[in-house]
């Protein structure tokens, strides 16, 4: 079974600074996908970024980028130029490749606070 671990229950960052959220996962498969979701106080789950395990290049989406270390089974999220609107709970998630039937396995989440 897959497990996802986020070891940082809470993180904080100053506005305009950079912060990195950690995530490790455990899987015996070679074909899988990794995601970061954001959950602001509004409760909505918003996809931030995704990474295909077969791609060596780290995914980037504007101010969000990942550091994907496949051998170490690590998938950290870097937020550059942090904004107040980035304050939220962030979840790392793993999904098997192929016909996984949509089963996302989530980490425990990291609460990110952005200070003005």
């Amino acid at each position: 079974a897959q497990t996802v671990t986020q070891s940082q229950p809470e993180m904080s960052v100053q506005e305009a600074e950079t912060v990195t959220l950690s995530c490790t996962y455990d899987t015996s498969e070679s074909d899988y996908y990794l995601f970061w979701y954001k959950q602001p106080p509004s409760r909505q789950m918003i996809l931030v970024i995704r990474q295909e395990a077969y791609k060596q290049q780290n995914a980037t989406e504007n101010r969000f980028s990942v550091n994907f270390q496949k051998a170490a089974k690590s998938f950290s999220l870097k937020i550059s130029d942090s904004q107040l609107g980035d304050a939220a709970m962030y979840f790392c998630a793993h999904r098997r490749g192929g016909t996984s039937y949509g089963k996302l396995t989530f980490g425990q989440g990291t609460i990110l606070t952005v200070h003005p």
Partner: protein
């Protein structure tokens, strides 16, 4: 237009009652899901439907019964509600069941059982 919409947003009810949560997606996706987020914010899959057929039932008590009348709708009915059912329930959809198809979530339904 909201892509995945759930109703109601909030649901407060007493133990023993039966309640339903409705979900609709207008994305044309084939696959829909129910996830449960507990009081510690942990998210876990409950059910997955592909083209109206149940494909995942993640050891959920049979008091929970999903129903998919068509590909765009997936409702969740809960019988004999218990205190431990209090949680936020998320509906989600994806274009396909394959792993590279990201999930789009609704805004969640906060269920409180008193």
């Amino acid at each position: 237009d909201t892509a995945v919409s759930q109703t109601p947003k909030y649901l407060v009810t007493q133990m023993g009652n039966d309640k339903s949560i409705k979900c609709e997606q207008n994305l044309g996706h084939d696959t829909m899901y129910w996830y449960k987020q507990d009081s510690k914010k942990f998210l876990k899959i409950m059910f997955s439907y592909n083209n109206k057929e149940l494909i995942i039932n993640e050891t959920v008590p049979n008091r929970f019964s999903p129903k998919s009348p068509d590909k765009a709708h997936l409702n969740l009915h809960i019988n004999s509600l218990e205190l431990g059912d209090s949680a936020v329930y998320f509906c989600a959809s994806s274009r396909r069941v394959e792993g590279n198809s990201p999930l789009h979530f609704g805004n969640g339904t906060r269920l409180t059982v008193t």
